[in-house]
């Protein structure tokens, strides 16, 4: 068994190394390094977005969530699928026409507010580092769980691999390796989902058993949650993705609007059936391991117990791939923001192309190192931090970014007000949920979203924009550049 698993990991590592080398050969300038020369084909963009959004958490954690809360977890993937529509058809084309490097850069220019750039960049960096540490923890657990390697060694090894190929080939490497990693975990899913359902006794048996164990398992609340929390889940993920700098930066890498539309169709059609199939896995595992405590590693446990060694190898390689493809995206996004938005703002003087590339490479190494202590400590509240990050992103960045792309009248004051109110109220809301005994029907995220949107509208109507800000908006709407 061990030999086959090692062999699978070696094959996966070879494919990743080949993609990194391919990226390195194509990298000649800062534009190549940070936004892949703005020439990525649509299928790589679609694949890398899907891979970046499918971390170990969603690949294995989602199986665990379906296992516990039934179809309630569908609201996560429905929220994300809806956001793909908006991102690829509405947000992406306009960001592409802006043609920058980072999201803080866009916000600062759109609102003619230079300070917005380092401020939003620092928020982005903090968020990406936390997200990356969370993902790397899952990667470290692979080797720790399989072979009992010291956890610290496993995590460090994971970070070294991610840093090496991100430093080497930048965005091109990240996107091509994401695509290769996507193929690995799609292959694992296609093979393992039918095997899991069959071993559990077939669909009919699984459905009847889990419905007896947890009545309402297949309803939108999963029989255990409330309608309000289901709606909140949908909106957290829908808006959280709309304000996600790591994903939005991908749109700077595309040459034409057409490529984004193709990517949007492919991504949405593929995403729902692919992630939706995890619900069948979660239900099947519920019948087989009814008393399991750690539901997140159940699928791996199942594979070890029932599947041939080669399938276990494929699953382990796919988990590693899912971890790498997500962590590299967060790492490069954070590093680009540090150099392009913070260092440039502080230095004020002109920065050459080669300096920018070199500094971004250094930032990748330093930020990877910075995330190591978080990953090593494995704090219990890390999942809560992730939820908080997406809530803040949705309530502040998501609303502000989408509105700024489609409403010329939106002003600098409205952007600041939306970001500050959305972020602070979202944090306050999560604190209330954690420490106060709120009624079940109340979730603070929904009123936060509505009030933030209202604040953006009211402040925009009560204040005045300027010509620079309007000029940037006009460049976004010029379809002739498409």
């Amino acid at each position: 068994m061990n030999t086959v698993i090692v062999l699978s990991l070696v094959v996966a590592a070879f494919l990743v190394a080949w993609s990194a080398w391919h990226g390195y050969r194509r990298t000649r300038s800062a534009t190549d390094y940070i936004v892949a020369g703005r020439s990525m084909p649509w299928w790589v963009v679609a694949g890398s977005l899907l891979a970046a959004s499918t971390s170990g958490a969603s690949f294995f954690g989602m199986v665990g969530d379906y296992n516990r809360t039934g179809f309630y977890t569908h609201w996560v993937i429905l929220g994300i699928a809806a956001s793909w529509l908006v991102i690829c058809f509405m947000v992406g084309p306009r960001l592409r026409r802006f043609g920058g490097f980072t999201i803080p850069e866009y916000l600062a220019k759109r609102f003619d507010s230079p300070l917005l750039r380092p401020v939003f960049a620092l928020i982005t960096v903090a968020w990406m580092i936390v997200l990356m540490a969370t993902v790397v923890v899952q990667g470290g657990l692979i080797f720790y769980g399989l072979w009992g390697w010291p956890y610290e060694l496993s995590v460090s090894l994971m970070l070294i691999v991610i840093s090496l190929y991100t430093i080497t080939g930048g965005q091109t490497s990240v996107m091509y390796t994401d695509f290769v990693q996507l193929i690995i975990f799609v292959a694992a899913t296609i093979v393992l989902v039918p095997i899991t359902i069959n071993v559990a006794g077939g669909f009919g048996h699984v459905a009847e058993t889990v419905e007896v164990m947890q009545p309402g398992f297949f309803t939108p609340t999963g029989g255990v949650m409330t309608v309000v929390s289901a709606m909140s889940l949908f909106f957290i993920w829908f808006l959280g993705y709309l304000g996600h700098p790591g994903l939005l930066t991908r749109f700077y890498t595309v040459k034409k609007d057409r490529d984004l539309y193709k990517a949007g169709i492919a991504l949405t059609l593929f995403y729902l059936p692919f992630l939706g199939s995890m619900s069948l896995v979660g239900a099947s595992l519920r019948t087989m391991y009814p008393d399991a405590e750690d539901t997140e590693i159940l699928w791996l446990q199942f594979a070890v117990d029932y599947a041939p060694a080669v399938i276990v190898g494929l699953l382990v390689a796919s988990l590693a791939a899912a971890v790498l493809s997500t962590a590299d995206t967060w790492l490069l996004t954070a590093a680009s923001s540090v150099t392009h938005d913070v260092v440039r703002y502080v230095r004020k003087s002109e920065v050459t192309d080669s300096q920018l590339t070199r500094w971004t490479r250094w930032s990748v190494a330093i930020l990877a190192l910075a995330s190591l202590p978080i990953a090593l400590n494995r704090p219990d509240y890390i999942i809560e931090m992730m939820t908080l990050a997406y809530t803040v992103a949705g309530a502040s960045g998501g609303i502000v970014i989408v509105t700024s792309l489609y409403w010329r009248r939106m002003t600098k004051s409205a952007a600041w007000a939306g970001l500050i109110f959305g972020a602070s109220t979202a944090v306050l809301g999560r604190i209330m949920v954690a420490f106060m005994n709120l009624p079940e029907w109340f979730d603070p995220i929904l009123p936060t979203l509505v009030v933030t949107a209202l604040i953006v509208v009211v402040v925009s109507l009560r204040t005045h924009g300027n010509d620079k800000s309007d000029a940037v908006f006009d460049t976004l709407t010029r379809r002739a550049q498409a």
């Binding site: 569908h74 529509l85 669909f203 009919g204 057409r258 949007g264 169709i265 949405t268």
Partner: protein
């Protein structure tokens, strides 16, 4: 409990998923057609 029973239980989510998929195809196709026209000299 068969596939139909499960789909009946999750009708709201099935309807939403179906709408998202149909929208992706229709909106995407319209956008593609419009951008093709713009590419013509």
């Amino acid at each position: 409990m068969g596939v139909q029973d499960v789909l009946a239980d999750a009708w709201l989510q099935v309807a939403l998923a179906g709408s998202i998929l149909v929208l992706a195809v229709i909106v995407g196709s319209v956008m593609l057609r419009r951008s093709k026209d713009e590419d013509k000299p």
